[in-house]
């Protein structure tokens, strides 16, 4: 079975701190894409970052970066210099055959 596990249901950090959200997944496929989606309280799901499984280099988008460990099937998201606008639910996901497999999400609170 293909699954995504986010072990942290909820986290809180102070503004400007760095925070890491963990994600592990399970698949027997070799080629796939991993994603972090952000869903703020307004509820629009927004793509944060994408990682191709065949690439060893970790993806980076401004303050967002991932630590992708393919052998360990781990895909954590690091948010540097966190901002109040980063408060949201974060979903880790991977896509196979046009279908997203979502984790249950981590609710992140950035505190002023």
């Amino acid at each position: 079975a293909q699954t995504v596990t986010q072990s942290q249901p909820e986290m809180s950090v102070q503004e400007a701190e760095t925070v890491t959200l963990s994600c592990t997944y399970d698949t027997s496929e070799n080629n796939y894409y991993l994603f972090w989606y952000k869903q703020p309280p307004s509820r629009q799901m927004i793509l944060v970052i994408r990682q191709e499984a065949y690439k060893q280099q970790n993806a980076t988008e401004n303050r967002f970066s991932v630590n992708f460990q393919k052998a360990a099937k781990s895909f954590s998201l690091k948010i540097s210099d966190s901002q109040l606008g980063d408060t949201a639910m974060y979903f880790c996901a991977f896509i196979i055959d046009d279908k997203i497999i979502f984790g249950k999400g981590t609710r992140l609170h950035i505190l002023p």
């Binding site: 894409y33 629009q44 994408r50 896509i95 046009d98 249950k104």
Partner: protein, 116 residues
Amino acid sequence: DAMVIQNPRYQVTQFGKPVTLSCSQTLNHNVMYWYQQKSSQAPKLLFHYYDKDFNNEADTPDNFQSRRPNTSFCFLDIRSPGLGDAAMYLCATSIGPRGGPQETQYFGPGTRLLVL
């Protein structure tokens, strides 16, 4: 700007009264998806269209139907809404075909359905 649009943002219906939610996209993507998302849960895929090819998830109730009259529009029909169908309904699109970054899904803002 190219985007995924969902109307209305909030929909109220009565128990058992059919309701239709709409989604349109200006991205010209081949694949369109409908998800149901309940509070504090991950979205649950109901079905998707690859062009005109309809793909239903095995556990999607028969109460939920979909139509895609053209590339730009996709509709979710709930034939007899129950109280348990109250949720946020998300539409998403991707370029397709299978494989590659074309699979990245882009989401609309969602329609929150309330069943009275």
